[in-house]
Symmetry: C2
Subunit: 714 residues, 2 copies
């Protein structure tokens, strides 16, 4: 689906003028280098911007030594990009002048719009309307701007350059928050990581985070994208951007805040974000292999490792260590992170044991401190881990050895040689040698002091690799059914029929108006059956004894039919009785009993229809053990969702049960997603709960279903 | 219980000679400073050890310039401590000589003992026997030794001092692994953290990790203990040590590896650890407020923060930030870590809003970048957070502002003043200003670049504080019952009766040999009842229809009694029939139904009887949602265990159920723990499953119970 929906790269290239301009006008240019309207000029002068720089200031002939223009109209031509650094009151008129001049890209520093109050929000709408009328790509308002050191363009008033301008590097930062975006930039700089392209989106009146990520996904300046989001405001460009980045093998590390209830509250007070539910965002990020960082440090750890551009599609980790304790610690971290550490081949283990009798050669491969007495062994062990183990990622733990005057140089040389012989591997060094890090990095190593942080980064590279590999497969076709929604919210029976037609089976049942029909229905469905009183006026059937279980023969059907009518007459004399519902009785307890699941769909305000699956009852309500996915998706994806549940072992025969028919459940879930995608925006939600899953080969049946439509009730 | 069981500080002071000796003999002393027998001498000469240094070497008159002794016998007197650096073959004889000389503390570097093979394990047993005969405290064998820079004592052959000797500090490191212990020492040194006391325990033939932690818990050299464990070998000293550290308000941060299955496998191949089950160890650590670090970096983060000795018993976090985004990120991290962030008082919020109109004063308090234009506001905001918010911990996020030439100095001065006015608070600074960290630390700040790491450290301080506060309460008395275990593993009925007597109620039931007795029993118990065939030869009653539910009157009892006997005769003609069991029927479904729980006890090889509670069925088997605790404990502790379960909301009326009788369940769990503690070592395990918990006020009943005894079966 997504492949078809994605626009060509050129769509995102419409931001080129914003990030890679050849001429820049600064409206509200200041002669003071420290003022908001002065900083871009000061930075570009200092760094040597490669294009034209046109300050606009009606009161001055020159600004910071450059000839100034009295107005937008006075500019020699339309600038590639204009920076609006005037008060909010003047911003709209200025934007209009720029549009008339032919300018098609604008960065609005001015604050006092939607982030402030209702009046500001209205002003922002007027501003945006002007931008759209002229076809202007507009960053902001209320944004810190953008910089691209590749061409020395500094369309920003950040104060972040006191400790230095960007160093060369391959990381791009896309951030909804100016303060946080430049914080990440500065934190990277402190670590020696180059992030020369930073784009902050502010109020996102026109250009949103998705546009910026999409631009980076196709821009040669950027290999790795660090993104910061408080809430995703639009989904089309955002999803197209994630898809493009994945197809172009550019990893995205995202800090999405507001995941906690607490954080969610703060996010809403901070911006007027239309924050989609965090769980849905997470599902979308998972879909495209975006790795969500838990901390800023983790974001930079992952970005740092990613700059090597080695993304194993099926990641395995080999660990070489001089400390058994560290080996165990790393094994713990790898299992926690879900990184596989297969053992070394037996023959290789045997050979290593002959080299160092008390080594532990399985994996982690502990060559023990013995090797420091016989240095060539280091290389032999490393070589064996790479060659015999065949691991895609190799983590080498050397604690202080790398800093040792006696052993360090030989260690470095031997490891360098082995690394160079296997350049396709992700080689990571964990060592306590701050002074040596730059030297090892020059040899191509990824260096972490803490081995646990190394494991986190290694896991992320594997996740990127798996996502990139998936992107190479043709997108699965999910045929959409023809769906005609009723005028009003349908009854349970109509809802089940609609879904059954779309491939979501319901418990077989028939409405019968007399006992002969009931017997025929029961014989057709097969015993045992359930009888339920059928009346639009009796909502809680069980309260009046209106449900009879374990009906096993024709006599019992007849007797039961009479009993139900009698009870209805007695307890609800004024109710309209339409007859009796005869339904297949699905056993839920005991040997061959069904597992109770719940399926659902709801319309996310940003991402549209989203399907959910969970184990019934307590699993959903108490443990929140559910999985989400954008609609539609195929049965294979549905099965991945089901398998990702913590309670999934229940479907695989836990507690002595037979295996449940997961294939049928996956098919039904996929069909539900296709139904939701085809139903259009009037569909508000669907609840299929319980969905009873019988043992393998016996299918699954919706025992209840509710479809809610916009504004509709019956 | 623990308070009584803990030995006086003096017990641990028996390690004084090992860590704080006035005279040191080195047996196997080498003239080569780089050899194992040479390093301790070289280090102590370089650092200026304050006591006597006696090299023992039969072949040399001097060793590294010091007069050497030909033998242990030739020493001028018994040394406070002797270092044995001779081959394993000679170690036992050397130890014996030292014992005869009157030496009572020995550090054994020699390897080739239990870590090697069976023969080594036997040699270690002989070595240990010699140590015990002489009353020698013995560290090792196969250990890297100990150092205590306070008196310049270096009883170690570590190669870790290439990058420097310890700097002053208050951290002690106790490690089962020499390589990892010195790795932590070196990692601390790289961060400017002083860890002048390091003790590594090697094979732990005599002195174990518990002794070392206990020594640090009473030693004035140490405020904060970093411990590394692969497996806990003995519990008495270990628990006494944790208890003493807690009572002396010394926090312990522990890295316990082998938590994963993978890691567990590696831990066993690395040492011959008798590793107690990780879950049990975790329960013991939780009991004493030991914080378990997930990574080495986290261990040092927590130790660093702990050196301030501010441990809030009820921790609340106030956050002051210049970035809204960072505020949300910190809120997310705090919620994740379980740190409370109560809002600022309304009046204070109003006042701050008047100072900076667009600030967000709730908590996180976002004073916005506006304050950098009006610097005195910084102090006013910080003061308000401390004074009005009253938070015990305050995290202040200033990103690069602290490094700014224009704003930085004023920021530092204002924050210094406020910090000094509230010295009892845990003040933490998150900033991107590596060059300024030492200056801020000199002002008393705890500094982290990453705010998420700051939150983790802050959470740990609160956990320490809560544990220290609990230690001030008198230990709850848990009266132990008189328990007389039967000769052999008892039947279900006997097991239930034994437990019921000890305060673990069982479902009321009576064995009845005729139908009159059955009717009397049913009337006494109250309807509905369950009837079960009673025969030692029929194990699976339900298979022959030997269980009847929903018996509601005397007639049904009589009829049921006859039915069961008939069925037994038919299906199991040779079975001995003892009659029928009449039991109270506890409803488990529907409105007033019971919640199914499971209680259990098992004997951990290290920590003795450990009790467990979990929600029945899938919760235990699929989700491993259980809580453990050493026996015995009181009902309040039992309730804390129950409340810690993920599924606990089920007991509190989730899904429309009535609240369950948690008080009765807690009482039963505590009674079970007392029973297990009183039963002695013959008790192997107890399973009470299901334990049916009725609505509040109606109690709980064991529906089944199994008690297993050592070697016993019936």
């Amino acid at each position: 689906m997504t492949a078809e929906a994605a626009p060509a790269n050129a769509g995102f290239a419409s931001l080129d003028a914003l990030v890679r301009p050849r001429s820049v006008a600064i409206i509200g240019a200041s002669d003071e280098p420290a003022r908001i309207g002065g900083r871009p000029i000061a930075y570009m002068k200092e760094r040597g911007f490669q294009g034209e720089l046109w300050p606009v200031n009606p009161k001055r002939a020159t600004v910071q030594g450059l000839p100034a223009f009295a107005s937008v109209e006075a500019l020699p031509s339309a600038p590639d990009v204009a920076i609006i650094a005037v008060p909010a009151d003047n911003a709209i008129a200025t934007l209009d002048s720029l549009g008339q001049k032919g300018c098609r890209a604008v960065i609005v520093f001015s604050a006092g719009f939607a982030e402030m109050d209702e009046a500001g929000a209205e002003a922002q709408e007027r501003l945006t309307a002007v931008a759209r009328r002229h076809g202007i790509r507009m960053l902001g308002p209320n944004c810190l701007g953008v910089f691209n050191d590749a061409i020395r363009f500094y369309g920003t008033f950040t104060a972040s350059f006191e400790k230095g301008f960007p160093i060369p590097g391959r990381i791009g930062i896309a951030s909804q928050s100016g303060a946080y975006g430049t914080h990440v930039f500065a934190a990277a700089l402190d670590r020696g990581l180059g992030a020369p392209v930073v784009i902050t989106t502010g109020n996102e009146a026109e250009v949103a985070l998705g546009d910026v990520i999409g631009w980076m996904a196709q821009a040669p300046e950027v290999d790795v994208i660090c993104a910061y989001a408080e809430g995703i405001r639009e989904s089309r460009q955002f999803i197209a951007a994630l898809d493009l980045a994945r197809r172009n093998r550019k990893p995205i590390v995202m800090m999405k805040v507001g995941r906690s209830q607490l954080g969610g509250a703060a996010a809403k007070s901070h911006t007027a974000s239309i924050a989609g539910d965090d769980t849905v965002t997470q599902a979308v990020l998972d879909e495209f292999g975006v790795v969500r960082a838990r901390t800023t440090e983790e974001m930079l750890d992952i970005a740092y490792a990613a700059t090597k551009k080695i993304y194993p599609a099926r990641n395995t980790l080999g660990v070489l260590t001089v400390s058994g304790g560290a080996g165990v610690l790393i094994s713990d971290a790898a299992e926690q992170a879900g990184v596989e550490m297969p053992p070394m081949p037996e023959a290789a283990q045997e050979r290593l044991r002959q080299l160092v009798p008390f080594c532990a050669p399985r994996n982690p491969v502990d060559c023990t401190a013995q090797v420091t007495n016989n240095l060539p062994l280091i290389g032999e062990f490393a070589e064996s881990v790479a060659r015999d183990g065949g691991y895609t990622s190799i983590l080498s733990f050397w604690t202080q050895t790398a800093a040792s005057r006696s052993v360090g140089p030989s260690l470095k040389e031997q490891m360098r040689k082995v690394r160079a012989a296997y350049p396709d591997r992700l080689w990571v060094m964990s060592m306590l040698a701050p002074d040596k890090v730059r030297e090892y990095e020059a040899d191509g190593w990824i260096c972490f002091e803490d081995p646990s942080r190394a494991v986190t980064a290694i896991e992320a590279m594997g996740r990127f690799g798996a996502a990139f590999a998936r992107a190479e497969q043709p997108a699965p076709e999910v045929p959409l059914p023809q769906v005609t929604l009723p005028e009003a919210t349908p009854s349970e029976a109509v809802a089940k029929a609609l879904l059954a037609e779309a491939g979501v089976p319901a418990v077989p049942e028939h409405a019968c108006s007399d006992s002969e029909a009931a017997v025929m229905a029961a014989e057709k469905i097969g015993y045992p059956v359930v009888l339920k009183i059928l009346s639009p006026d009796i909502l809680h059937k069980s309260e009046i004894g209106g449900v009879l279980l374990d009906i096993t023969d024709a006599d019992a059907v007849k007797h039961g039919f009479a009993t139900l009518l009698e009870r209805a007459k007695h307890h609800a004399p004024s109710a309209r009785i339409e007859g009796v519902l005869v339904a297949k009785q699905i056993p839920t307890r005991g040997e061959g009993g069904a597992v109770e699941m719940a399926l659902g769909v709801f319309r996310d305000p940003v991402f549209g229809p989203v399907a959910m699956v969970g184990l019934g009852g307590i699993f959903i309500e108490v443990l929140k053990d559910v999985s989400f996915r954008r609609c539609p998706f195929d049965a294979a994806e549905a099965e991945r969702m089901i398998r990702s549940l913590k309670g999934a072992p229940l479907l695989d025969g836990a507690r002595g049960r037979p295996k449940a028919d997961v294939a049928a459940l996956a098919k039904a879930l996929s069909a539900l997603s296709a139904f939701a995608a085809a139903a259009g925006p009037r569909l508000t939600s669907i609840d299929v709960n319980p969905m009873l899953v019988l043992p393998e080969g016996q299918g699954c049946y919706a025992a209840d279903a509710v479809i809610e439509l916009e504004g509709g009730s019956h």
